[in-house]
Symmetry: C2
Subunit: 146 residues, 2 copies
DNA sequence: ATCGATGCAAAAGTTTTGCATATAC
DNA sequence: GTATATGCAAAACTTTTGCATCGAT
């Protein structure tokens, strides 16, 4: 896993390359995702950052804008939940997919080589230039089956 | 593939079992999904039904309510697009996954036995009681690669 | 000094809800 | 006749946008 200073460098370089500015808010969001290894909605991130940093001003719009930027730059990634919005996580870990418990909402990550290979084959079969893929398995986690 | 009369019977039985009523609006939505083998937003369905049936009154709320009912009953299924909402299709065809073109928005369906088997194995590995799964491969379709 | 970034509030878009009325049973 | 379903409009959410101001370069 990448260290935070390296990630920060990567981010700064990215910003510089695109004539974007390095701001306290952007760094806070990046650090939040780095430190918190779970899945958060923009609202979650906004509320938690506000609470943890009463001294810094931050608006929900900036959270949305930054998450979009991070996702476009492939530093963050998201899972969609229909009308319930998206949840974000740091996207630099090894690619993985998700098991989602419909009862407690817990998300388990997994990685499966066979599935990865098969996805490549399928994209090729349809002459599809794959830029990403997501797989969600939904059901009941061990705990919630009682 | 199931015939429409059989599907209609299935739906009527389902309604009866749950003390729900068979209404013209519910039938129209079911028939729409049966006849149109693509993926539609609730708004799409609402607009098209209104246009095709100027004589029948139908509200967007009923479309939402019915789609939720159909999905809960596993007659319809949906794909999530984050803030852009969900798209629905009849869920009784053979289970399949989706290739989604990020340029033209076109959706290609596919089925892959290897992936299906692998998903079962993964769920088992995590003692997860799988109730469903979705896989999306996003990228550029043949046409949009130019 | 410049130009992009921010916060705020308003707007836009999607989905849900309350309620009086209509309709299936 | 009773209970559920409907349409409408309002409300609730999530996300985006316009704009004056702030701040990084």
């Amino acid at each position: 896993m990448i260290t935070y200073p390296l990630l920060l460098d990567k981010f700064k370089t990215l910003l510089k390359t695109n004539t974007l500015k390095f701001t306290k808010q952007r760094e806070l969001i990046l650090k939040f995702l780095y430190d918190n290894d779970e899945h958060y909605t923009p609202e979650d991130i906004y509320m938690l950052l506000k609470k943890e940093n009463p001294d810094i001003n931050i608006g929900i719009a900036t959270v949305y804008r930054t998450l979009t930027l991070l996702e476009d730059s492939e530093i963050a990634s998201s899972i969609s939940f229909g009308a319930q919005g998206k949840k974000y996580e740091l996207g630099l870990k090894k690619h993985h997919d998700h098991l989602i418990c419909t009862s407690c909402g817990n998300i388990i990550e997994f990685f499966d080589e066979t599935i990865e290979e098969q996805q490549e084959k399928i994209a090729a079969k349809f002459n599809f230039k794959m830029t990403g893929h997501t797989m969600k398995i939904v059901g009941l986690c061990e705990k919630c089956q009682n």
